[in-house]
Amino acid sequence: MKFSPNRRVLAGAVAVALALVAAPSMAQKKYGPGVTDTEIKLGQTMPYSGPASAYGTIGKLHVAYFKMINEAGGINGRKINLISLDDGYSPPKTVEQVRKLVEQDEVLALFQTLGTPGNSAIHKYVNAKKVPHLLLATGATKWADPKNFPWTLGFNLSYQAEGAIYAKYLLKEKPNAKVAILYQNDDYGKDVLKGVKDGLGAAGAKMIVAEATYEVTDPTVDSQILTLQGSGADTFINITTPKFGAQAVRKAFDSGWKPLHIINNVSASVGSVLTPAGLDKSVGLLTLQYYKDPNDPQWKDDPAMLEWRAFMGRYYREGDPKDASNLYAYLTAQTMVHILKQCGNDLTRENVMKQAANIKNLKLPLLLTGMSLNTTPTDFFLVKQGQLAKFTGTQWQGFGAVIGSAE
C-alpha cells in the first residue's frame, strides 16, 4: 500500500502546481477570494424562515439553476458553489450570516441577498470590505449609488422608478384623477410613494386626496380600504405586498368602490395574489411589468418560457411554476452567469464589479420584448424600463410602449 491512488493524485497536483508556478505567463489567470481553477464561490442570505419565507423559493431556484450550469460544465470549467444561508428576514442575522460568508467561507461575491432591511444592515460593511454586493433582491432606490457605495448594485426596477411611471401614466391619461394611496409602512412602501409623488410633481397636491398605511404584521387592510373609499377617490394606487395586495383587491371590489386600480408589481402575481383575491374581482387592474408572467397564456409557447418550464420540471420540481418569484430568480441567476462569463479568467472582486457595471444591452429572453439590461460605472440602475399591463380576468395584457422611468 505504498502508492495509494490518493498519493498519486497528490503528486499530480503538486506537479501541476509547480508547472503553474514555473510558467506564470502560460495562464493569464487572476483570482480573488473564493475562486479556484474548478470553483467560484458565491454567497447569499435568504428568508427561509420568518415573515418573508415565501421568497425563500428564490434561493432554492438559484441553487437548482447553478446545478444545471455546473452539470453542463460550469463557467469556463469552474463550477458555481452558491452558499445560501437563512437570515429569517432579521437584520442582525443578515449581518451575522454575511460576515460568515465573507470572512469564513470567503466568497467571491454576494448574489441576490434579499430584503431591504437586511441589505441596509450590511451596506456599509460590504463596501468597506470591498465585496461585490450584486443584484440585490430589493427595489430600494438607494442600491444605485455608485459614488458612495461602489460595491453595491441592485437588480429590481427601482421602486421609485415604478411609482414615477404610474404617475406619468395618470398625468397623461387621467389628469383629473382623485387618487387614494395605500402603502406598507416601511421603506419599500415609502419609496414607491415617493416615486408617485415626484412623478406627479406640482399636480400631486391636488390629485392625491387620501393616504393610508398598514404594518406587515397587521391581519387585514379592510378598514384602510374603507377609509380610502370614503375620501371620494376614483383612482387607487395599491402599494402592498402579496397578502395585503390580495385583501385590498377583494375589499375594493366587494365594498362597491371599484376605482381605477393600480397595483404595484410586487403584488401582481396571478397565482399568489389575484387568484386568492378572485379573478373576476381583479378585472381591469393595472400594473407595471418588466418580465414575462408565467401565468400569462400569451407566453404559453414562447421559447423562453418553454425553456424555463423545462428547467422547472427537471431541476426544481418542488417549485411552483405559477409563482412569478421562480421566474424572477431564473432571470437573476442568468444575469449573474452573464457577469461571471464576462469576467473571463480575471475573477478578482475588482473585475467582477467592473463587469457588473458594464452590462451592455443584455436582452434576456424572459424580459418583456424590447427590453434590455444596461449599466455603466456611473449608472447602477440595471432595469430602467417596464410596460403597463391590464388584467383581463385571466391574464395580464401589456399595452402601450415599453416606458423608461427617465424619459
Binding site: 427561509y48 451575522e96 469564513q104 432591511p117 444592515a121 415609502k190 404584521t217
Partner: protein, 326 residues
C-alpha cells in the same frame, strides 16, 4: 469577626469561575473575527437573559415583551451616537438608565396584573414596539423604517486589537460587571424578597416585604439589563431598524431563559448559546423548514432537561458528588 456563614462560593466553584474567565479572555485570540463577533452577540444575549431571568425566574413575573426594552436600549444608543455624537461607551449606561426608568414606570401599572395577564400586557408592548419606532413623529430621531446605521467603534491604539476583539472585551467587561452586581443583588435582601414574592406573595407581605415596590424595582432593573444588552447589540451589529425588534425577539428571549434554566445566573449563558447557535444549525440541516428543526430541538431540550441546562448540570453535579462520597 469570625463568621459562621457559608462562603458564597466554594473553592472548587471559584477555581472553575476563574478558568471560565481565563478561557473567555483567550477565546478571541484563537478564533476568527467572525466567530469573535458571534461570541460577542452571545454575551450580549446573556446580559439580556440575566435581566429577564431576574423578573421571570426569581420574581415569577412573566414578560413576553422584553424585546421592547432591548429595542429601547438599542435605539437610545443609536440615536445618541448618530444624532448627538456621544461616544459609544457613554451610551451604554445612558441606555441602561433610560430602560430602568421606562421599565419601572411600566412595572407600576403592570403590578395589578398577575401571571398570564402580565404576559399579555407585555406582549402588547412587544407587538407595538416596531410600529412605535416607525411613527412619523419620531422619524426624525429613529430614521423610521430605514433605521440608523452606526459607525463601528475603533479600538484604542494601545490595545492593538481588531475592532471585533475590542468590542468582545467591551461586552465581556459589561457582562462580568453586570453579573457580579446581579449576583450580589439576588443573593442579598432584595433577592430573598423577590423569591419570597414569587413563592408566597401573602406570606412575603406579612413579613414586611413591600411587594409593590420590590416588583416594580425588579421590573426596572430587569429592563435595565435588557436595555444595556440592546445598546451593546446595536453597537456590535452597527445597525438598528424596527425589523430587528419584532415580537419574535421577545419570544426568543423567553426561550433562552427557560432553556438556560429559570432562577439561575449561569443559565443566562447557556440560554444565550442556544439562541445564538441553534438557529444556524437548524438552517444547515434543512432549508425547507428551519423553524421546524428549531422547534424540535426546543422540545428535545425541554424533555431531556426540564429544568433547563443549568438545572441539568446541577443534577449531574449532585449525582457525581454523591457517587464520590460513597
Amino acid at each position: 469577626m469570625a463568621s459562621n456563614q457559608k462562603p458564597a462560593l466554594s473553592r472548587a466553584q471559584l477555581i472553575g469561575l476563574a478558568l471560565v474567565l481565563v478561557g473567555a479572555c483567550v477565546l478571541p485570540f484563537v478564533v476568527s473575527n467572525y466567530r469573535v463577533f458571534q461570541f460577542t452577540l452571545t454575551l450580549v444575549y446573556a446580559i439580556a437573559l440575566l435581566g429577564l431571568n431576574m423578573l421571570t425566574g426569581y420574581n415569577g413575573q412573566i414578560s413576553l415583551g422584553h424585546g421592547a426594552f432591548y429595542a429601547i436600549g438599542a435605539y437610545a444608543a443609536a440615536i445618541l451616537m448618530d444624532k448627538f455624537g456621544v461616544p459609544y461607551w457613554l451610551t451604554i449606561p445612558i441606555a441602561g438608565a433610560v430602560c430602568l426608568v421606562v421599565g419601572f414606570l411600566f412595572g407600576l401599572p403592570a403590578l395589578r396584573l398577575e401571571g398570564v395577564y402580565l404576559a399579555l400586557a407585555t406582549f402588547a408592548l412587544a407587538v407595538a414596539m416596531p410600529q412605535i419606532l416607525k411613527y412619523k413623529g419620531f422619524e426624525h430621531w429613529t430614521g423610521g423604517a430605514q433605521g440608523i446605521v452606526i459607525v463601528k467603534p475603533e479600538p484604542p491604539e494601545w490595545s492593538s486589537l481588531t475592532q471585533d476583539q475590542w468590542l468582545y472585551f467591551v461586552v465581556l467587561v459589561c457582562l462580568v460587571a453586570l453579573f457580579v452586581i446581579g449576583w450580589n443583588l439576588l443573593r442579598g435582601r432584595m433577592g430573598r424578597a423577590m423569591v419570597a414574592i414569587r413563592d408566597q406573595p401573602i406570606a412575603a407581605q406579612a413579613m414586611g416585604v413591600n411587594t409593590a415596590m420590590v416588583k416594580s424595582l425588579t421590573f426596572g432593573v430587569s429592563a435595565m439589563y435588557t436595555g444595556i444588552a440592546g445598546a451593546l447589540g446595536a453597537i456590535v451589529i452597527q445597525f438598528v431598524a424596527p425589523d430587528s425588534f419584532t415580537v419574535f425577539l421577545s419570544i426568543t428571549l423567553v426561550v433562552g431563559v427557560v432553556i438556560g434554566g429559570l432562577a439561575s445566573i449561569p443559565g443566562a449563558i447557556y440560554g444565550a448559546l442556544f439562541i445564538q447557535f441553534v438557529p444556524n444549525v437548524a438552517d444547515q440541516i434543512s432549508k425547507a423548514a428551519p423553524w421546524a428543526i428549531w422547534g424540535i430541538s426546543l422540545i428535545l431540550f425541554m424533555y431531556v432537561m426540564p429544568t433547563g441546562v443549568a438545572g441539568f448540570i446541577r443534577i449531574v453535579a449532585g449525582r457525581l458528588q454523591r457517587w464520590r462520597a460513597r
